[in-house]
Amino acid sequence: MSKIKTEVKPFAVTDCAMLSIATGVSAQNLRELSDRLGEVAESSIYYHFWGMRLRPRFEEPVYNNDFAHWAQESLHDRRLAERLGVIDPPSFNDMSELRAELIDVIEERLEESEYVPWAKPDEGFRFIRSILVVFDTGLRIKSPEDLCDLLPKLSRSSLYYHFIDARRRHPEGEDDFRAWLAGFGERYDGLRAEIANIDPYFSSLSSLGQLLIGCFEFAGVGGEA
């Protein structure tokens, strides 16, 4: 199928699974949440923004991070939930900036409030971190056209690995698809630009596959192109 002759290393299709770990750190009220956020490992903040996507849940939750969800469901503070929910992690340079923003939003809310909102005893916020277990599927893709054909078959966890987790692995914060396409020179710059437009944070894992296929179609790579 592929007509490309290139020295680019084949794309190694990888899958992953997440093993969750309780940190033992929890917050029962908003003041404690702010204080604990200043102390917990960055890996825990990462989990509550990104890793939680691999946890048992239904897609398209109202809020895309656990902090906003907790503010809504356990503190019943919609205003805070909305402010936390709109935080966009990719727009921060690193996790420490994201941590600072979270604390700012919460401190601002505490200053506005007449009292410190509390959660019920069994609804405290539990900080979690995770270990990612990475599997080699054995599958190797030689051309972008073949990658396009594969996309509909990729599991949610594989998409997580290549599109979300990848941003921690590549120094430029790219996903695996764009990083691999760069190896072909300028030929796929259009496709790379399309993929760069996908919002990794506000797209569900289930919709990511479709969005990526759309990028390939738009760029005229693979499929019926």
Partner: protein, 414 residues
Amino acid sequence: MNGLLDSYMDITGKATIDHLRQLSKDLEGKTVVHVNSTRVGGGVAEILDKMIPLQQELGLNVSWEVITGDAAFYECTKGFHNALQGTPIDIPDNLIRAYEATNAENAKRLRDQLEAADFVFIHDPQPARLLELCPNRKGKWVWRCHIDLSRPYRRVWKYIQSLVRDYDASIFSLAAFARSLPHTQYLIPPSIDPLSEKNRELDPGEVQAVRDEFGLDPERPLILQVSRFDRFKDPLGVIQAYRLAREFVPRLQLVLAGGGASDDPEGEAVLSEVQMASGDDPDIHILLLPADAHHTINALQRAADIILQKSLKEGFGLTVTEGLWKGKPVIGGNTGGIRMQVIDHHTGYLVDTPEGAALWIRYLLNNRVLLESMGSKGREFVRENFLITRHLRDYLSLMVTLLRGEDSGRIELG
């Protein structure tokens, strides 16, 4: 040679089985011992029943040991169970002594095997003291807690904590159950086996035969709760919910099916309370089933329109998982692991009262299309998250993590 694992492929897909094989490469030949306190009855025994042969097939040298004790031991561990789930009861010293003596007796029998093992999984508090009784242990010891520890009675927890703090790791079903312990606490929900007698597909004739056996009318709606006769399962609340719902659904039938477990001395007392509460209502069917009545439970769950699990406290609630797997919506108590499985308006409804349960029973029985679509969604939810293959993957991942260390936050395989 790979028959058992491969038999799951049709349900889970090939990738899931490949993942298990990749994980097991690091663990080939390692000796693993699981220890609990009952061979039959209850979710723990059911999980181990299949987990052991699957781990064996993956090349691990696995065994399952059961500790045994006298009536005082089981009375003590039942007290632990109740106290850890929040009931403020102190355990008398003589029962604590019986508990410690039973562990010491069992340690005599198991010590050599446990001290030599690469991994020891101790399930729940019953055998928890074995660790301190095996001072020359060479492997990694993991305490697997299946109980809802979200609000334990403090004095009893302090005692159990003193027994489990020296383990290398512990496993809890939910983040809310994790406690303050000086080791890594993994979060691993339990699972069901889709190929077991309790969960395998049945043909309609098999389901009808069980309806006939218990006098259940297939033309009338049926609600079902399967659980031990235990106050935390709130069987009296279920009867109350049934009575409230029946005012609007007069042809409603209720089945309360309880299996016994050899480590539960309270069952009989609760059963008589339930029998008294049901009075002479011919549409309340109280079934005391033997621990191995898996086929009957499977058929009852398939015969039911709605599954109830109105627990007041629940570790995880595998009967919820079983019900969802059979494509039934579940009305469950708003507690513990039920919250992880019953997602309001997706797979069923969480309730805090018998009134809430009655409301949703009435609602679902009047919305058959919704009832069916929730059922399908629930089955897929279980397929992705709560089958034994996922559980096995998590156990293997944990063992690999304990062997390799987890500093980098990732384990690369293949």
